[in-house]
Each structure stands twice: as C-alpha cells, then as structure tokens.
Symmetry: C2
Subunit: 349 residues, 2 copies
DNA sequence: GCATCCCGGCAATACGAATTAGCGATGGGA
DNA sequence: TCCCATCGCTAATTCGTATTGCCGGGATGC
C-alpha cells in the first residue's frame, strides 16, 4: 500500500494529503480546483509540495462528496420498464443506447442504469420507497410504454427527464396540460406518406391491422393512415390466426394492408402465399415499423426505418435542455425513412 | 408543486419535513430508517405525523448523502475500453451485459457506465485526473484487452474490480504476484479438447492461424493446442491474403487448421473452395471462438460457444466476493461448449 | 423518599470536498 | 513610526442524512 496514511476507514482523503504536506485541507482543495482565482492564492512551492503528495498517493477526489455540494453529478439515468438488455428481441434497445451513449460521452457524463428498481405487480416502477432517481441529474425513459401515473408524477414533481418515444400530454390538476419532454419517431407523418403512395398506386380499399389504440405509437400510426384514408378498415391482429385475418381482409375487398407490426405483415405474407396469392400483385403489404431480427422477408417488406440511434442522441440533447432550462419546447418528432421494399405495388384488379 | 416547502435550492430535505411535522431532522431520519431499534424510539403518533408529511410531499431520501455516510452506494461500475454499445460488431458485448444486468438486478444494484472517461492517446483510460471510479462500489472491466499499467494500478491501489476475460498476474513491486480477479472462458481447455478430437480423427500436421500472443485469450488458445500438439505450425493471419495463407498451410502438409478468429476460418474456407478443395474432406477448419454476426458458414463451422452471459453474471458474483472479502480465490474459468459443426472431419489422405 | 430506569425526543457530530470569511505576517508609503 | 494593502494560508461552514450521546420527566424499585 506504499504506506498510505489512511486515518479511519481505508479511503484516503484531502485531510490525509494535507497532513502529509503540512498544510490544511482547504489548501489541498484549492490546489486541486485549478482555476485562476484559487491558484493565484497558493505559493508555487506549497502548491508543488501538495501535488507531490497527491502524485505519491494517487489520490483522487471523491465524486460523491463533490456532488453533494454541487447538487449535480454528471450522471444521466436510463430507466426501462423491461430489462435494459433483453434476451428476447436481441437488440431492440441497442441503437437507442448507442445514441445515448455517444451523446453522453460527448458531454462527459456517466450513464446510470436503474437496475435496482424493484418489480412490483409484474412491472418495474420508477417510484418506490428507495427511489434512487436523484443519483442522476436527469433521466432517459426507454420503452414501448410508460405507465401514465408514473409519467404524471414525473411531471408534477418537476423531475428532469425525457421519454424516448412520443408521449401524450399529462394531466396536472387543473392547470395547463403537462407536455411530456420526448423524442419520438414521426409515425403519423410516415404512415400518411405511405398511405398517399398506396392511393397513388390505385388502392382504394385499405386496411389497418393492429391495435391502433393504447400506446401513442399505435394511435399515431392509425391516425396517420386515417388522415389520408378516412374510411380505413381497422382489424385487430393480436392473437389472431393470420389465415383468419387474411380471409376477413379479402372478404372486405382490401387490396393493401398497413400492419402496425412488421411481424404481422410477415405472417400475412405467409398466409397469402399459402392461399396461392401473390404479393404485391394480389395484395400489398406495408409494415409500419422496422423489421427486427434476421428473419428478412423475401421479397423485401415495404416498411419504415426508425431513426433509433438518432432518437437516443437527441433524447439526451433534450434532457440537457430540460436541465438547463434552455429551450422552451421539449418535444421532437424525427422523420422515419421509408424502406421501399417490394411488397407495396400497384393495384392490379 | 402543491406548495412544497423548499427552503433554498428546490430540493426538499428532511429538515423541511421536520419543520412541517414539528419535529427534529433526527426524528425524520429515525422514522425513515425502519429498523426495530430506531422505530421503538418514536411514539406511534409522532411517527404517523411524520409519515403523513412525507406522503404529502413525496419526499425521498437523497441517495447521495446517504452514500457519503455509508461508504458504499449500491452501484456497480462497468468500464470498457471501447464504446459500451459499439456500432460495428453489433453486439459482442450484449450477452455479457445481459448477464451483468441480471445479476445486478438480483442484488438490487444500479449499473454505472463510465462513459465520461476521456480518450487520451487514442484509448479510453480508467485513471485520469477526474477519476470517477469511486462513484461505484466496484467495477466490471469489459473488453478484449486491458492495458497492463491500468491493471497494475487497479491491483496496487486495492480497487474492487473484476475483469471479464482471464488476465495474467500483475507485478506488484517485490511482493507476491498480484492475481487479477477475473472470470474468463477456458480457451485453453476447450482448444485442447478440440485438438484431441482432431488427433483422434487422424490429423498429424495441424496449424494454428492467428497471433497466438499478446492478449491472454490468444496465448491460451495457442497454448491449449500446443499442450496436445507440440509441433504445431504457427502462422500469423493478420492482414494476410487468405489464399496466400492457405497456400503456405498446404505447402506444409497441414490437414487441419485451428483459427484464433472464426472469421479467419470463414476466409480460409472461401479460399479453399476457390482452389477446388473440399472442407472437411481435403482440409479441416476449426474456429476457436464464436462466429459473430449473421454470416453463418455453410456447412456450419466447428467452433466454440463462449458462455458470455454466464461470464457476465459470474463476474458480478466475483466482484461481490471481492467487495465482501468472502472467498479467497477470485479467478474463475468457465468451460466453453463445443459447436460440432461440419468443418472438422477425418483426415482423408 | 431516593436512586434507577425507560420513554420520547433532540443537539451534536460525522461523512469528504468546496467555499467564504478572516487572520497573521510582510512590505511600502507617508 | 504608523497605517493599510497584499500575500498566503486556515478555521468555519455548507451540502443532506445517519448515528451517538444525552436530557428531562414520569414510572418503578427498594
């Protein structure tokens, strides 16, 4: 241990350094805070003596004590309602995390994953008795969905946070609607654009397969489609046999299906082939999201590319805005690129 | 804000609670630390009054101040020499992180990613002037390689850490060799096992393609092969044309090649096919690692499965051991499963 | 009736670093 | 010789929470 002069618990403090250098703790602190103000107040000889001891001992300031005083820690929190590193959908979060990490690095911030949040009633919760939110200066919320009550409380208590994914306004008792800081993908705009394209290709009977309600991203997709095709046929797909769903769609004379989940499009594609139908000649299929996993469809699915990395980066930017109170609008919608694919074609009938 | 009685900087403290409840800060603290000792010292009426105020204000203790006293924070650090979420090799780290996260969650610990570590001389470094290591109770080191001097300093200064991946002992001036806490994959054992299999299949002239030096994992692989096949032919592969490498191997009469990097095996496979050779009939190929990415070889490469998730989990276990001073040996080698594949076959000639 | 004990609560202190106010010594000017 | 400014450094305080020791009053024991 090189004879480190630990006084009490093993960790070496500024007082230890001070003792060894024959100065006060204040002086050690002044030497360390290297600004022109303080530096000028210390004689070069003293300064050097202190630095020498610091070098010998390898002392570094305890960031905790420092943070307690400063009231901020250069730490950004990341909270997810599922595991941050899920096993199943191998890397849904990965691009988001890449963007967050890159931006945090450029800011010189560390990233704290709130893995300690206990699971109550089958879900992780931000607010629990030993809430560690304050360890971070602000927090990025990641996940397909955020419980309304948690969101409301975050806004009401004035926490610095940002959601990755658009979130509806929150109701703060009586006053103006609480806008939730967020960086989302512009599902509505992208879906509208695809819808216009489908219409231009001659499609008249268009369907939406998926819930279309609940989560904001689902509402936005259905809404984007409705804005262009008011009389869209809305069919739920959850837990439904693809062949069944397909039959219902065909019976209604549908020629193009917009699927909330790309996976549904893939399933419908399979069902269509099984019926001897051709895609897109007999039925056009569109996935309103990014195809995940390696199971690429052949021919390529017409779908969206969600700018996930960019969303992560910008989420951190917005979070910093929130912290500094810089900008006034803390909501951003990023455009989705369209993946042309080959499953959206001209109506043939 | 519900008229929260913030005194100074916005955050609400135990003193605020105390004022509102007409008690002292001590009492608030005692009410919060819910152990039998302290609880008995507070009258139920007082206790309830304090709890009421706490509920109204939504107060939660500042984990920072708490940590400063306790000298530990329930935070485990993760340090990587590259980005934690790299863009290129999509998810080399992902399985490790999964294991680390799962174990941390079971321990109720948060995870801190040291993204603030600045890049000096082209590489991230743990030790720099504003070292934030002490934010965490201990630290998991992730990455293919760890600079020796950083490792040495970690050991010398007695930091609690663990390396994912075996690391050689470190030289602490004069005293006994400093064993580095680590959880590694047993490359040596697995390679030996594969070598025995190759020998049993009739192979006599076996080559090792790769550096075989430097990083521990490379040394271990070559070592494991040498233990079974002392007269192995060692050919470097870095930056070399696969066809060129193949020619050299064939000229030496090699019938089985053990490749440090599965990617090299894939490249050699391509070169062999181009020469009209069959695998494994004319040449057996073994990858001494996990094939990464979706570019699976056809037929399947005989290689290893690195228990990355398990390594992550056990790394955290070892770290906890180190922290508590529980066990005495902090090195673990985990067995690698063999992926049979079809590129290692009987020698035909 | 006096010593003792327990109950319920509080003041004081510690954790480690940063900041403010101020103290003693020195030097220069009048 | 006296006064004041400057230099170089330190004592005291702060951040928010946990812990220790103690105090006053009422009940209990002998």
């Amino acid at each position: 241990m090189a004879g480190a002069p630990t006084n009490h618990g093993g960790r070496i403090t500024q007082r230890d350094i001070a003792r060894r250098a024959g100065v006060s703790q204040t002086t050690v602190s002044l030497v360390l805070t290297n600004n022109s103000e303080a530096a000028s107040r210390i004689a070069p000889a003293t300064r050097e003596r202190v630095l020498q001891v610091i070098r010998e001992t390898g002392y570094v300031a305890d960031p905790l004590a420092r943070s307690l005083l400063r009231q901020h820690n250069q730490i950004l929190g990341i909270f997810t309602y599922e595991l941050v590193f899920p096993a199943g959908s191998a890397d849904f979060y990965h691009p988001f995390l890449q963007g967050i990490e890159a931006c945090a690095e450029s800011l010189g911030c560390d990233l704290l994953l709130f893995t300690s949040a206990p699971v109550t009633d089958g879900a992780r919760r931000i607010f629990h008795e030993n809430n560690r939110l304050r360890l971070a200066d602000g927090c990025v919320l990641l996940g397909r969905e955020t419980p309304r009550e948690e969101l409301t409380r975050l806004v009401r208590e004035g926490h610095a946070f940002v959601s990755v994914g658009r979130r509806d306004d929150v109701d703060i008792d009586g006053t103006a609607p609480g806008r939730v800081p967020c960086v989302g993908a512009d599902y509505a705009g992208a879906t509208s654009e695809l819808a216009r394209r489908a219409v231009a290709l001659g499609h008249r009977r268009i369907a939406y397969a998926g819930s279309g309600e609940g989560v904001e991203s689902a509402v936005d997709r259905l809404g984007g489609l409705r804005a262009v095709v008011p009389d869209v046929l809305h069919e739920r797909s959850a837990g439904r046999d693809p062949a069944d769903l397909l039959a219902a769609l065909l019976a209604a004379g549908v020629t193009a299906v917009f699927c909330e989940l790309p996976a549904d499009a893939v399933a419908l594609h399979g069902a269509a082939l099984a019926c001897g139908l051709r895609v897109p000649e007999d039925l056009s299929l569109v996935g309103l999201g990014e195809e995940d996993g390696p199971g690429r469809l052949e021919p390529a699915l017409t779908c969206l590319r969600i700018p996930r990395r960019e969303m992560g980066w910008q989420a951190v930017e917005v979070l910093v805005d929130v912290l500094h109170g810089t900008s006034d609008d803390h909501q951003r919608l990023l455009p989705c690129a369209m993946v042309p694919g080959q499953t959206l074609g001209p109506r043939q009938i």
